[in-house]
Symmetry: C2
Subunit: 365 residues, 2 copies
DNA sequence: TTGAAAGCGCTAACAC
DNA sequence: GTGTTAGCGCTTTCAA
């Protein structure tokens, strides 16, 4: 934290030369002591009243709460945390690739997490790490220093070191996404299999048969489920997947552009392209448009995520919606439950996604 | 924070039925007491040694630091904060418009802020509010409850209530952006005037004379400076601004699309469009492309921000670069200085932006 | 139902 | 240089 040597606590007061005694009055920090004095009870009673203990009479509780409000009391988080032996903080380590990090997905997610936590009076410790050893070290440091009470892990991987580590340490966490097999932890995930099935069925209904796929990196668990959905739907429709039409992208717009070009250079061009996320779909749209193809007419392109931009691109993007903001909130709730409850269960939520049909997909021409 | 009634501190230990005494050993929390015992000195000495007080002998310091490391000691943040009377937390209230919030700008900024703060052992309290009363209430709550030691304010407005409030309260904060007149606070801002001058000069060099402008909302301070730069450059080149070619957008892609259409419906079409940010520039590109115009050839379009996507759009976007990540880091440094220093100065940094010429701008056809 | 008292881990007067 | 001691604001036994 702030270095002690330069730290002038309550600098205003000290700066002005007030003695330590009077700082309290100047800054008017209301503590339970003040409430106790006001209601003529002990601080212990006030504390228990505020925490709604049932060995306190209703009248006392009411009185305490009333005066607390009048005095503008709000608990000192540090004192509570010290006594309760909790950090009052949740860790969120964003996996980033490269220094220029900018995923619209995360700004919405952080908004959800942040709002939920701030309502609960819990802090968020955000930092970013590139997947690898550094990333695990960051988790380890926070755990060992007891800086956080739990973690939110996002974009789970098939063999996720972060999760293995946290499970080993029995450290509370929730994940946005599953792991491959062992899933003995609380998570929220969308049903990527279903999502992709919806997409493929939509395209097949439109008459498409030759469908190119720009999948997400295979390390992510969701990739596996989404590919499963694609293959299931292909199978059902009697389409035999052409492996020259399946490529893997890096989730960025640039990656989508490059991979779409690869697909469009195929001897027998696909009439539709399924991208693993919206960003890559945008890249694919650019690639198609550069070749003079009219997206939604000459070629259909679909995304996954339904980031806000998907609605406003041209043409607007057919995609799969995930309620990212509320997933963020829900994960926080689950995490707090995990931290505070002695019963360790593993709530696992799989959300059914919605297909959003927009302008980028149309009948095969 | 966590409700007391359900909270099982160190649930593992309590759950397993260990007595309070032994929790300490089980969870192996190393405190300065342990170090004191180990080195055979008092806890006060250990504390001062760790904080590098100069009334402690170098040998003692070295010994203390060594054993602290060996024992895997890390300070209890709550105890430090309680004693030092600080929150150890910085507030960051994102201004959002509408529930679906997703600005690539902010994910990069948060990454910068988060990394810097986590290095310093400071937490971040993130939440989002729509500008208005609710927003100010959030600031007020955090200030009164002493939940944070300072704020980072972003996207300053001409008449910024947040800043007025914080100045009134003499509460530490730093801003990304200036205010109109009174700027008695630390901030970092880019030189928007210069940025736009660079853009206009670039377009004029390319032969453009009829230039459309999709400006940012006038409430933001940066809009004022950017417009100033545009007018200055127009003036210098002897161009008389045509007010039918100046419209105001809302910083979203959709807004850029709509406003670009307005401009392109003008009797005398502009040969270039300056957008107030990259997102709107993308929207404008879509609008132009829909009309069969080739961006960078038939029409030039420029952005502002240089978000990562700008490099990978098609055509890639000519824009103005702002080092958002490092601005985030720098602002944190300034804020910590403001919080810990008794001298209240107002470091004000104006960054010179760089013009990034890419494919979306070309000679007038 | 309530109060007295101990203590969470740390810092900082003040004494030696 | 170092130790003693008294808290920071809160929770929680234990006794009344």
């Amino acid at each position: 934290m702030y270095s002690i040597k330069v730290l002038k606590r309550l600098s205003c007061a000290i700066f002005l030369g007030y003695s330590k005694k009077s700082i309290h009055e100047i800054c008017m920090t209301v503590t339970i002591k003040d409430i106790a004095k006001e209601v003529g009870k002990s601080i212990a009673t006030v504390s228990r009243a505020l925490n709604d203990y049932n060995d306190i009479s209703e009248e006392t509780k009411a009185l305490v709460r009333k005066t607390a409000k009048e005095l503008g009391y709000s608990p000192n988080a540090a004192a509570q945390r010290l006594q309760r032996r909790v950090a009052g903080t949740i860790g969120f380590i964003l996996p980033t690739f490269g220094p220029r990090f900018s995923d619209p997905f995360f700004s919405e997610f952080i908004a959800g997490v942040g709002n939920q936590l701030s309502e609960l009076g819990i802090d968020l410790l955000v930092s970013t790490r590139t997947p690898g050893d550094q990333e695990i070290d960051a988790y380890r440091e926070y755990v060992q220093a007891k800086r956080v009470d739990g973690f939110i892990v996002v974009r789970t991987r098939l063999n996720d070191k972060r999760i293995h580590y946290l499970l080993d340490e029995k450290f509370p966490f929730v994940a946005f996404g599953r792991m491959d097999n062992e899933n003995e932890f609380p998570f929220v995930d969308e049903d990527g299999e279903m999502g992709m099935r919806l997409i493929v069925e939509h395209l097949i209904t439109l008459g498409h048969k030759r469908i190119g796929i720009i999948s997400s990196p295979s390390e992510f668990t969701f990739t596996k489920y989404r590919m499963k959905g694609i293959h299931a739907a292909f199978n059902k429709a009697g389409i035999i997947p052409d492996h020259s039409l399946i490529v893997s992208g890096d989730l960025t717009q640039r990656g989508g552009y490059q991979k779409a070009n690869d697909l469009l250079n195929n001897r027998e061009k696909p009439s539709a392209i399924i991208a693993g996320n919206d960003l890559m779909a945008f890249g694919a749209m650019s690639a198609a448009q550069e070749r003079g193809l009219m997206v939604g007419k000459d070629i259909s392109i679909t995304g996954f995520d339904d980031i806000p931009m998907a609605e406003h691109s041209h043409p607007s993007l057919t995609t799969i919606n995930q309620p990212i903001y509320s997933i963020g909130r829900q994960l926080c709730e689950m995490l707090v439950h995990r931290i505070t409850s002695e019963i360790i269960d593993h709530p696992q939520v799989i959300l059914s996604p919605t297909l959003i049909v927009r302008g980028s997909s149309g009948p095969r021409f």
